[in-house]
Amino acid sequence: MIEHLPILIPLTLLMGALLTPLAGALRRSFAYPAALVSILAACGLSFLGLHQVLVRGTMRYHLGGWVPPIGIEYVLDPLASFMTVVILTVGALVFVHSRDVVQNELPEKMVPFFSVSLLLLTGFCGIVLTGDLFNLYVFLEISSLAAYALIAVGEKPSPVAAFRYLLVGTIGASFFLLGLGFLYMITGSLNIADVADILPSVVSEPPVVVGLVLIVTGLAIKMALFPMHGWLPDAYTYAPSAGSALIAPIGTKIGAYVLIRILFYLFDPNYSRLQLPLTSIVIWLSIAGILFGSIMAMAQKELKRMLAYSSVAQIGYIGLGIGLANPLGLVGAVLHTLNHAFMKGGLFLVVGNLRTRLGHSTIPLFDQTLRKAMPWTMASYSLMALSMVGIPPTAGFFSKWYLVLAAIEDSNWTAVGMILLSSLLTAVYFFRVLERVYVRNSSSTGESGEGMNPRETMPSDVESMEVNASMLVPTLVIGGGLVVLGLLNTVIVTEVLMRVIPPGL
């Protein structure tokens, strides 16, 4: 069974996506357990896969017994197994959390919601695991179509946001496909390992350059790299809470993952760095994105929209790590993928908690009663905010640390300054909420003045509104997990990420 692992992970999710509506047709209450079981099974398999890869090395699975390059192969290498673990762990935590959120926000659409969510994760895992370029395009479109559908069931303007995302996302995917066409014309192969073998001998041909530029453009749209981020803020804001908690942590990172595959595994890492100025373009776009996202996030009143703009900034960090194209940068980018997936996932769970209990997530309406009403949710938020800013020992500090080291190694002082500056900006926009909840006097006791000790003006009759265990536990697990990930970062880096660095970088 072990040798089937690379295909079993996406297959479990796909079967879950198909069985969930069947179980739901049998009895509506069966749908959620069916979905939960399949994602937990897939999550377990992904951990088994990571363990196997660390012990035995890369696993290759030939679909239908056809040997590549003719057949399609699935490859479970260190990077792929790491990414599946990240995707499915976050996915499983969001699934545990979202039963009540979905029941609250979309009571009629429970069954299709979980089925489409599993399809989304099938797409993500397929992208990560496939060793075939065209197969990758198909999975990219599966996950995108599922994402459009998940976004469109949210608030009133959500279909418009989803339609815009659909137009832009399809352009991105078509650019990717067009680039593949150019590469295929020259190499005559679609298997990633095979193309990587052929490319060095044909790398000076114009179609290869055109193909690479088209692929990178398409992926930049998919990963919402500035200035191709226009679809993101509306899409994340208007999506249902459970939907954005699933799409926001993983969706754009998948684009970054494919970019890593293309730039460092398909092509020789030195080609895209030295012969084409592609990576330096990625660096400058990322820096612009970090600055733009942080400033826009500061201006937002709605927590979800603030998180969406923060995502634009955070994908900039990952893009920066990729663009620096040195081992430390790659480690930083991949580690930040993990950390940001946990942080953003957790923050959207907090939004889900707030919306379930308060019915809104508008920052100016937060006051200090929240710290008594929802103490654990706000404590988790605080941990996540600290991690977003990058305060040790939370996880966010360490990925930024590697990125800063990579930028110093590259003598790119603008990037170093920008990482530090944007950390300050991140502190500004995340601590706005903390200030309202923990420091400032509540608006109801406004006349008592600002010099008063907040403890004395605290209304004593605040009743607890904390969410129930199925929502609280995933939130707390992510909040606490950020500290654990931070403390374990050396283990993660030395055991897993050092094996991710491709030869030649």
């Binding site: 479109e141 418009v160 989803a162 137009l167 399809t170 067009l178 066409g181 679609l190």
Partner: protein, 122 residues
């Protein structure tokens, strides 16, 4: 120069189609017209693959007893066509979802004209 253009006439037409599609998506104000632009754009990519597989003096990729299976250069490469079948399926799914979204938008805002829509969303 004329020869250069004539030799790649199929690609020039496809390029024109790509630009037409992008123009429709960027400039047209009506959401259905934007979707039509997107479809033209997608089709141009499909045409590109199909055109890249075409070959003079070659036959369909079914083994011909007169040619035998060893002379592969006398057959057309079937792979781009099969890939594009999948791409067409993906395109159909995308367009279907897009129309579902357009219906939902129309039910909520009673318009598919972008400036009007933006005004009503406020």
């Amino acid at each position: 120069m004329v020869e250069y253009i004539a030799n790649y006439s199929a690609y020039w037409l496809i390029f024109l189609l790509t630009i037409t599609g992008l123009y429709g998506m960027l400039v047209k104000k009506n959401l259905v017209k934007k979707l039509i632009g997107m479809t033209i754009f997608q089709t141009s990519v499909i045409m590109f693959f199909v055109a890249s597989a075409s070959k003079w003096n070659a036959t369909i990729p079914v083994v011909d007893p007169n040619i035998g299976s060893a002379a592969t250069s006398l057959y057309i490469n079937p792979l781009p066509h099969t890939l594009m079948l999948t791409a067409i399926v993906v395109g159909v799914a995308t367009i279907g979802l897009a129309f579902a979204l357009l219906m939902k938008i129309y039910h909520q805002y009673h318009t598919l004209d972008e400036p009007q829509l933006l005004e009503r969303m406020r």
